[in-house]
């Protein structure tokens, strides 16, 4: 994990120092390409794994619950934050 995060940092530094290089404006495409290759392999692993395939509907349901939970938690806290610190400030500006 440590080396992975260091790699991420090295990327940020390289990107920042050399940010005027034109090729870096295409780096988003390279990220997508790498992600797609890895997603394909993740798919291959899941497709050849009968245990996961049999439980796909269960996994979908779990994912749904986790997504609702993540949205609910962040939304509730953001509402409290807005009411506590930001409401006056942003509404006065209108």
């Amino acid at each position: 994990m440590f080396y992975l995060i260091m790699t991420f940092f090295a990327g940020i530094c390289a990107g920042f120092i050399r940010r005027r290089i034109k090729a870096f404006s295409h780096v988003g495409k390279a990220v997508s390409l790498t992600v797609f290759v890895m997603l394909f392999f993740l798919g291959v692993e899941i497709g050849s794994d009968e245990h996961v395939l049999e439980n796909l509907s269960t996994l979908g349901l779990r994912a749904f619950v986790l997504a609702v939970a993540g949205v609910a938690g962040s939304v509730i806290l953001s509402m409290l934050l807005y009411k506590a610190l930001f409401r006056k400030e942003t509404e006065n500006r209108i």
């Binding site: 991420f8 992600v35 986790l66 949205v71 610190l85």
Partner: protein, 212 residues
């Protein structure tokens, strides 16, 4: 839904079909094939870093960050993690670290799913790793969909920060247009800062929670 998400799901399903039918397996590249996903992971992290670092607006964004504005991404991450932990343990039956790893995808489904699928393999075995990767993919795709569809209601019921919090890492990405539309122009800096900070937190948090 957006073209990008459809394409992502299509690639994933194609991989599933290839694996299921036996057309492709991880051994087909020989010894190098077994380590290939790991190399790809490092390349991916480096590339994501470059895209963050070379963002032409990075200086402007960093300058516009006041400590107060950072509270929004902070509570977004904390709220997501707290509720993901609860739901993951109580309903899905996963351990604390696994639930947190899935939650810390923050809507960035492509990166979080491949990170979890790869990083968990050593500690949890290939089967659980693949399962967690799949759940992370679906969870974070659902999150993006909820935000896109629910932005007007979220904004009306829970205030203008709600769609930004719900969008997580996609606040300055796929969900940006709906946020600007329903929360209003004055929420623009909040959406940008929150989106960028959540986006950057994904590689850290996911690899951190996968290390347990």
């Amino acid at each position: 839904m957006m073209k990008g998400t459809v394409f992502t799901v299509a690639v994933f399903v194609l991989g599933c079909i290839a694996g299921w039918s036996g057309l492709a397996d991880m051994e087909m590249f020989g010894d190098a094939g077994r380590d290939l996903p790991m190399y790809l992971l490092y390349i991916l992290m480096f590339l994501v870093g470059i895209s963050v670092g070379s963002n032409p607006d990075l200086k402007k964004i960093v300058k516009s960050v006041s400590p107060k504005i950072l509270l929004l991404p902070l509570v977004t991450v904390l709220g997501t993690l707290a509720f993901s932990a609860l739901a993951g343990i109580l309903i899905a039956g996963y351990g604390l670290a696994d639930s947190l790893a899935i939650g810390s995808g923050m809507g960035y489904y492509s990166l979080s799913s491949v990170l979890i699928g790869q990083l968990k393999e050593a500690s949890a075995g290939a089967q659980l790793a693949a399962e967690l990767g799949t759940v992370a993919l679906l969870t974070n795709i659902f999150r993006e969909m909820f935000t896109l569809v629910g932005a007007p209601l979220l904004c009306r019921w829970f205030g203008p920060f709600a769609p930004i919090a719900s969008a997580g890492a996609t606040a300055f990405d796929v969900c940006f247009p709906v946020i600007v539309r329903y929360s209003g122009d004055r929420m623009l800096p909040y959406a940008i800062v929150s989106g960028v900070v959540c986006d950057m937190s994904v590689p850290f948090l996911v690899s951190f929670f996968c290390s347990f």
